[in-house]
Symmetry: C2
Subunit: 341 residues, 2 copies
């Protein structure tokens, strides 16, 4: 059967889902979406999600402070609850760390988590600590509540438009800048405001919690998820789970001036960051074409966050077609794959 | 401030609890007990607990199969819910593993988890997978429900009796046998039935779920927790959280014939395993003296599990006094400490 590198992350998840059998009592949505939807009482749905942050896989000490790492460990979970339109409530933190770890670093990690949690009134209510023979590993589980209808990856329909909040590629651009240790010639060519925008997007991503809650109250919104692994990978999940295809117009992708500036400095293609970079934690959704512009106007008014239509859902296979400026299909690089890393 | 080895696991947890401030809305019990108690609706309490299992800290591949590791990762969390008297419902599994990991081993790990979960109708509803630059790391979060009054570590009162379910030291004896690779002379001296009892107790511990639920319905039961880090460490938690002391009669400790046999074979003190070995996952409780024998009879009748009174709670400092056969205080070795391990 080989090793997990050959099977890939999605292969591992599929295998686990198949082996687990059908969902049991009280499980409205189990493995498949990032967040489980559970029936705890007649009038409330519980959301539960978990995300791992592993040293030298998700972060390197050279380019991230422990405060950043803590912030991000919480933020990625907030984003999973946001993608369901839920209200985040309680976090549990399991932490494995070397015995030589500085207590100050542990303090910074938790301070970062609490800072990311505070605007959402999320409490850290429990956890576990263990020694680690290797590096740091942080596993955060976040519980949330939902009083409406959670949106899933499987809810896209042919004819839907595809839209995304905010802008794409900032986190990947920020990582490139943070890891540019070789004299910093390329980074030095980026203006300070642009540099701050992209590095902050990477170090302290903001989960779209109020945006998710607002969007989930609109019946024209069908599928919803967060963009954590890169647009190509994440839209691929929607297509597979919904058994549809998608066509994305590359020139419609919202890419900020700061990302364009960084791409010029590094001699990189900004579209590669926007489609494959990941970690932007924007919300990706599909919606009915009628009323899509009202949806964008409404979201902007309610939360200050723009919504950009970038393509459409089509009947057929789970492929995503990327359409270039000449209206012709274009090949793009895929997102991050854990075990091929 | 130094490193976490100097501070110790309890020091780290205390620090996190102090930095976190008072528990927020809907949090009935936060950091301090192993399991958080959360108010999700007017008629239901949610229990949430998380436990890490780290390769070369919690298990070694030489002495545990991945099936065993999966079983145990689930069982330790079941035991945390059992210690509250709750009903376990849903598990989330975060898994970090090397890219070279065999897919068969991943399958075995999950099969072990599902086998431990099945008798309790617990579903694995979600998770996360990641590459690990080091060894395997499994973080399981278990959610449960409670319709009564959860018992906490802080509920012991002076004059209470201290009692424990089942028997102690079997897991530590089993580990000694499993790690006896040097020709197996000592292990060879243990009869096959005894060997099976102790190694099974270590490899496939059973969480006392129905026992916890039954005990939580008795008003004479005050403090309750599970014995995971060893009696000395765990009773120390009860004393600290309840601001009481305890006196334990060593000759009352329930130690099975199999453990005595293994101790003879290895030339070890069985009481050291019983007080400091840990991982027995028995329930440790304090109760009113009146009706204690009816409590034991009732538990045995309802679940088949014996309950043994081993000592009493005293007013005063958080110290545990160990009383030898001559009625005199005896020094014993403490339980497992993660960062000094």
């Amino acid at each position: 059967m080989g090793n997990v590198r050959q099977l890939g992350e999605l292969g591992v998840i599929r295998r686990l889902r198949a082996a687990g059998g059908p969902p049991g009592l009280g499980v409205r949505t189990g493995i498949g979406d990032d967040t489980a939807v559970l029936e705890v009482s007649r009038d409330a749905l519980l959301l539960a999600t978990t995300d791992l942050v592993v040293e030298d896989v998700h972060f390197r000490r050279a380019s991230a402070s422990f405060h950043d790492v803590g912030w991000k460990a919480l933020a990625v979970n907030l984003s999973d609850i946001a993608a369901m339109g839920g209200r985040p409530r309680w976090a549990l933190v399991a932490l494995a760390l070397p015995a030589s770890a500085d207590v100050e670093d542990v303090d910074s990690l938790y301070a970062g988590m609490r800072e990311a949690a505070a605007p959402h009134a999320v409490d850290i209510v429990g956890g576990d600590t263990s020694a680690s023979p290797g590096g740091w590993m942080i596993s955060v589980t976040l519980l949330g509540e939902h009083s409406g209808t959670p949106r899933l990856r499987s809810m896209a329909r042919p004819g839907d438009l595809v839209a995304v909040t905010g802008s794409l590629g900032r986190s990947a651009a920020g990582l490139a800048a943070l890891e540019d240790h070789e004299g910093g010639n390329a980074r030095g060519a980026i203006g300070s405001e642009a540099l701050q925008e992209i590095t902050r997007a990477h170090r302290r991503p903001l989960a779209r919690v109020s945006e998710g809650a607002w969007l989930c109250q609109r019946p024209t919104v069908h599928a919803l998820m967060d963009c954590s692994d890169g647009l190509a990978t994440d839209l691929g999940h929607i297509c597979r789970e919904s058994r549809v295809g998608a066509a994305i117009l590359l020139e419609r992708l919202p890419v900020s001036a700061a990302v364009l500036e960084a791409a010029r400095a590094f001699g990189r293609d900004p579209l590669e960051w926007a489609t494959g970079g990941g970690e932007d934690y924007e919300l990706l959704l599909t919606c009915e074409p009628a009323g899509a512009s009202e949806l964008a106007t409404g979201l902007l008014g309610a939360t200050g966050t723009p919504l950009t239509v970038i393509g459409e859902i089509r009947a057929g296979g789970p492929e995503v077609t990327w359409v270039g400026s000449a209206g012709k299909p274009v090949e793009i690089r895929a997102g991050y794959e854990h075990f091929r890393g």
